[in-house]
Symmetry: D2
Subunit: 357 residues, 4 copies
Amino acid sequence: MNSFGQLFKLTTFGESHGAGIGGIIDGCPAGLAIDFDFIQSELNRRKPGQSKITTQRNESDTVQFYSGIFEGFTTGTPIGFFIKNKDQHSNDYNNLKDVYRPSHADYTYAEKYGVRDHRGGGRSSARETIARVVGGAVAKLLLNEMNISVQAYVHSVGTIELEKPYTDLDLSTAENSIVRCPHPATAEKMIARIEEAGRNHDTVGGTIACVVQGVPVGWGSPVFNKLHADLGFAMLGINAVKGFEYGSGFEGTKLSGSEHNDIFVTENGKVKTLTNHSGGIQGGISNGQDIYMKVAFKPIATLLKEQNTIDKELKATTINPKGRHDPCVLPRAVPIVESMAALVLADHYLQSKLSRL
Amino acid sequence: MNSFGQLFKLTTFGESHGAGIGGIIDGCPAGLAIDFDFIQSELNRRKPGQSKITTQRNESDTVQFYSGIFEGFTTGTPIGFFIKNKDQHSNDYNNLKDVYRPSHADYTYAEKYGVRDHRGGGRSSARETIARVVGGAVAKLLLNEMNISVQAYVHSVGTIELEKPYTDLDLSTAENSIVRCPHPATAEKMIARIEEAGRNHDTVGGTIACVVQGVPVGWGSPVFNKLHADLGFAMLGINAVKGFEYGSGFEGTKLSGSEHNDIFVTENGKVKTLTNHSGGIQGGISNGQDIYMKVAFKPIATLLKEQNTIDKELKATTINPKGRHDPCVLPRAVPIVESMAALVLADHYLQSKLSRL
Amino acid sequence: MNSFGQLFKLTTFGESHGAGIGGIIDGCPAGLAIDFDFIQSELNRRKPGQSKITTQRNESDTVQFYSGIFEGFTTGTPIGFFIKNKDQHSNDYNNLKDVYRPSHADYTYAEKYGVRDHRGGGRSSARETIARVVGGAVAKLLLNEMNISVQAYVHSVGTIELEKPYTDLDLSTAENSIVRCPHPATAEKMIARIEEAGRNHDTVGGTIACVVQGVPVGWGSPVFNKLHADLGFAMLGINAVKGFEYGSGFEGTKLSGSEHNDIFVTENGKVKTLTNHSGGIQGGISNGQDIYMKVAFKPIATLLKEQNTIDKELKATTINPKGRHDPCVLPRAVPIVESMAALVLADHYLQSKLSRL
Amino acid sequence: MNSFGQLFKLTTFGESHGAGIGGIIDGCPAGLAIDFDFIQSELNRRKPGQSKITTQRNESDTVQFYSGIFEGFTTGTPIGFFIKNKDQHSNDYNNLKDVYRPSHADYTYAEKYGVRDHRGGGRSSARETIARVVGGAVAKLLLNEMNISVQAYVHSVGTIELEKPYTDLDLSTAENSIVRCPHPATAEKMIARIEEAGRNHDTVGGTIACVVQGVPVGWGSPVFNKLHADLGFAMLGINAVKGFEYGSGFEGTKLSGSEHNDIFVTENGKVKTLTNHSGGIQGGISNGQDIYMKVAFKPIATLLKEQNTIDKELKATTINPKGRHDPCVLPRAVPIVESMAALVLADHYLQSKLSRL
């Protein structure tokens, strides 16, 4: 239950306030050059304390690789890795030991397992996603070999929404902004909105868009493991995600078929479509156009203000969490979204080797 | 790649214009009473030709069970089943042999496999979902033993949207309407919209909502296989689906955390939440409240009118499909959505037996 | 639990006295030519009633393919198939309804599932292996494309043992003998031994050897899924199998390392080993030499004579089975052994595509 | 490919001369008390340098747990662990860099992956089994809760064989002997035989028997995943294993059915069999009697003397390995055999929860 992927498989372990977070990447082909600096730079994009709009926790988040790499190249054997937890203020959570935080995993977790590591959410903490960023970074290196890029950015924060389609933006500029939105004016408004939430001891949600370019025609599967179903599964497995759509998504349901269909044309001997409502995927299989998807994140549940709730004895009580928390998860979630997309695509790359004799 | 589920597992086979569609249900516990009439009634809800707003193809869609059931009860061994294809007008597809239909799986499929069964979409046809309805019906029988109900309905057709929340509706009335919307006035508008699309040789999309009631606290998993991630994966694997959300979904991203959090209270010794933005799932695990989700369906791609496209040689051509097609997939997709939800929940029921010593 | 293989996957269903036996082959690449006559000929090698030393039950064992094949070639989609049961004398089993046959699955089955299909062993009947022969025949067609052959033969019946190593025999002659032993003088003795067992209403066990030729270097996996571990798992899953060895096997444990090691030499630019104690597999991975293994079958448990046993109430009783049974399972098990070997190798063929960038 | 088990799943990583060996145990139920001293004592049974008949390498083999355990009990989340490599004399292997050792994984490995970590066998080293002992120790703790014991012992070394059946021995005394044979006189001969091999710079093989007591009726599966098939797969995945048998094994093939069948009787209301040729498993499912199996180990391939071989260019050369190696793998393999058995049984314990409604 803690593994992701069929052929390019990531298994993770670790809790927010335990020794650390780690994992095993199994199925990465031999012969891939590993760029350790790139992997660390991906972790840095996810790291707490990176800007004024993220939590001020201080984690170095340095990954150690234990196996599977020899003289800078993958050997085809499992890649074990580990990231130590450092800046644990477990005492911040003592007052949560017997109380269920609203809209958190505390209550459901305690009922499922009968035991609960109350410190920082235990296994349900988003700190687990650090292992996904390591796995995703290796997947990106594999995809790079085929000139496939994966680029996510913040599309909305609360009601502030980027109005331009991604095709009108330079996505590479997203990293220039601390909120990871590639449109400076919108980015500014988003930052102000997040700062406002922080001042109010409140939180704010939003959406992240992700674009994958360079995927050849023919990746995916026609029935259960449609390429977008695997992508949706990946995204819905990220903490705080409430929805997923690709291509025309929910808005596309309002169109008629004659408006929605993407007409094929040939350009310089290459097939393309005049529109891309399909989001690069038709019948569950990539069609060579850009893959485009959007992911909804709820406002995170930990508010630094008093709320009503119940305790372990199911008695009414109040809660007033301490600790250092993000008022908005979106800027740090951008590399996580990219990582999950990269893991899915690396898996389908391997699957694509098997479809024909 | 043609199996669904971890412990309650459905594997399907079959193409729209082959001998038929079938599958194997593996992992169903022994001792479950099988109500064959119920299973057939579920297939009838999905059947073509059931009303004036569905395709007029005529299939009896009668399921034969081959194994796994003895004297009316499951034996714990795999349940094999088969549904013959009958009303195949394969010749309707002869003109499609060398042409790629816009927004269909034809092109991607041909590139993936190098061969293509052009008759009716082959494996990518939604006729495959008949096997999911059989699997879902057995899953429903299992869930019934625990008083869990799964009820879907059409929430929107094009821009016509049901305005009331499900809590204000009697969902059991959805079946009284051929469009499967539990609000008669809205249902009428939806039917008119579908008939209009049919007259225009066009198609129309929409959304289906699904409500699961009676799931106990503690089903699901905290990381990749969050209960909603498995549900989303299930839904995104249905033909024509473009998006999935649960609980507050995309709209919820606009709220602040203090508006969005669901406050726990105790009522008659039972835990409940004052609101249900969580959609019955917190931290990937059911919290005992209603599970609520919404699924987006695009307008289906087969239009009975001329469109531009390309052929196998990548040359420009036109297409003008014949055949008998649904102008709107939603009424027949309702039992498919329910089936996929039931399959996921039956799987998590089994998983829930394993979490504690 | 009813699936075999990782990438080339066979899932089976069916009981001996139900409607029939069937399965789904998932993961077979597109573009493989299907020789239906060959598949049927494999089934005929396993069929009851084929000679005087097998059960005289009369089954046509004709396979129907339902999907996954179009115009004679695989399409890359799942291959569904079914074999009807015909010659069912279920009444022969009425007296077994409440009694547990010695060394059969009756007792363990009833305890596991709480219900039992007592007719002919239900799911635990060797009739299930018919589906493996279909799957194995398709796997053989795939291996044929790479000039890989899989050939099994009866190596011993009771204490009568073939004394020559396989390298001194013409394995293709095994099929000339009804006992499937490639050494005519030994075959005669084996037949006499089986006929003696039949006259005594008794049964007799033995061993089957299997040789796979043409596997390239590099198939397999270094840790859990060693090529011989997957082969052993496959063989131990056949009814009545009690042991598996490959290469030097149990006898090899008596040698010292300096006697046992296979020395590498180069011959015409090709690597070979002077001996083959390794049985073609080193460190779990094929080394290009012949793969050689041996499988032990117990004498089957159904004796047509009176034996003491207990009934469902755990009371002492006697049993005196009727029905038509093989006095020796080995001749009909030869194609089953080959099929399981072929399924494993087809799987590792696909896996071998994934090990390098 | 580096995971073992369906529900109680162990995934391992690490090479003999890398940073260390580790793994993840996924699927262990919450609430199991973890006895760290017991786990370490299991590792000590496998450790190099434990007696005069094992390699004199010096590894502390201390396991660190990273996750999944809170206040001494499992939490139901994945258990990550790591064992550092310490005593690495990688230079001992420099002369092996371009040479393929006879009957080793060097050649097959290089062909499979295109790259090879030549230091100590890399991933194909038996040092990987340290992770299995950790996993097996946790599995034993789980089985202990049900009063199930797993006990292995050395049954033969070369041609020196323990003549008494296990039922006439006190298996608990096996640990009193450095060769782990529970019969002192035989143990002495075995030790002398191993010392002789060591003096000759040679190696010697043998067999290990394993007895599992206390398994209730009904664990296992009737088709592919027969309990003995899973056990055989587990054992054949251990380095140097060449064969597996259970119950009457290869010898039993020589009996007639009337000699071989195990007659059921009832004793004090409990079912037992008069003989146990079935080895505690009938139709793939445990029958409540002792599970008995035997595993064949070849003489290990690394000889500290000159042998002919080839190099990477396929040219003839000689090899004369240095390093510190076991002349006989069996004494240290006893806890590995037990661990693999325990992992299989823990898995089937979980599976047994799913068979009935």
